[in-house]
Symmetry: C2
Subunit: 216 residues, 2 copies
């Protein structure tokens, strides 16, 4: 296995947490997003989406490049079932996947680097772009807080007392929110779960500032 | 089961296709997105994300509201396994989920109604908003075409010769692209698969203009 990653990519951060929870330590290749390496060969040939992460794996029918962090994490969970990242029951899995997708579909894509750059080419100042970022964080985290605080299935982590897929998505999103100085006081459940996660070595070791390609 | 839907929502369209493929016909409730019904009670109490679709289900431990179209479709696939919407092998599932997520995370969220409305409040004209829409469609479909055209696992449908999760995501996205007059000549594989899908009754009956709440 070989992980193509960038220290500050939240999608790569998610996969790093999952790999750590599974006790897997693949070779790493670094794709510098701010220098545009994702859109140039050799990486652009590997992933036509020009996004990180990608995970190269050897399967029964040859070599494959897996893309999309959630698909990669589900693959890791299926091929390395312990510890499980999804609950055993279908309703629990639906809940955890929905929490994860609320981050992956409804918060993160709007705050992706390429989207922020597009807003700048449309004439927006850094201040306006930061405002856009904080707006979608606030909308998304407000919904997530309501969903987690109002459900008895929420435990020490997003679903029960073991970390799983929803936590893996939450922690990088909270890191992004802190990086942009978004006010987080309104999300006590998210703050509590985020803190419990980051106390775990698998989450701590996946943090952007702990990566070999980290920049100050 | 009860589906909360809106005829023009692509996320609801996905779930309608999946329900049809599974031969399920739940009761429907209509949430008028352009009138803002998703942000008012009773719907806003049901789904704190204020997005459609939501699927109410009765499980072994009571009544639950499922959200996020992909989580709902995975739930339907797990609880009603025939016909399967995901391949039997982990690598195949990773591929199909990645294709689906490429639409769900990297195209659709940028073209969602609430995002287009936000751009208008930031001072952009309808023409500029349409340009934003078409830009992200073009970026996303170009990557999707490359991934599908370059992989021998692509068949009559996105993965082999039976329709599945990736096709369920593709068809509503193509419908959106056509509605905004996005040029589609550069995506022959997507056009071919989209046509094959829409020839199937399950896809045809899920189309926006076939819904009880459809408006001209």
């Amino acid at each position: 296995m070989k992980l193509h990653t960038y220290f500050r990519s939240s999608a790569a951060y998610r996969v790093r947490i999952a790999l750590n929870l599974k006790g897997l330590a693949p070779e790493q290749a670094f794709v510098h997003l701010r220098r545009g390496e994702q859109a140039k060969p050799p990486y652009s040939d590997l992933n036509p989406e020009h996004l990180v992460p990608a995970l190269e794996v050897d399967g029964p029918d040859g070599h494959h490049v897996l893309t999309q962090s959630l698909a990669i994490i589900e693959y890791l969970d299926e091929t390395h079932p312990t510890p499980a990242l999804l609950p055993a029951d279908a309703l629990g899995r639906a809940r955890v996947r929905a929490l994860a997708l609320a981050v992956a579909c409804d918060i993160h894509p709007l705050n992706n680097l390429r989207v922020l750059n597009r807003l700048k080419t449309m004439g927006h100042s850094q201040e306006e772009v930061d405002g856009w970022y904080r707006h979608w964080i606030a909308v998304g985290l407000t919904a997530l807080e309501a969903q987690l605080a109002g459900d008895p299935r929420t435990g020490r982590f997003c679903h029960g007392d073991e970390p799983g897929l929803a936590d893996i998505l939450l922690v990088p999103q909270m890191a992004n929110a802190r990086r942009l100085d978004c006010p987080l006081d309104g999300y006590p459940t998210l703050l509590r779960i985020d803190e419990a996660c980051r106390a775990l070595p698998a989450f701590a070791a996946a943090a952007p500032d702990r990566q070999p390609d980290a920049e100050v």
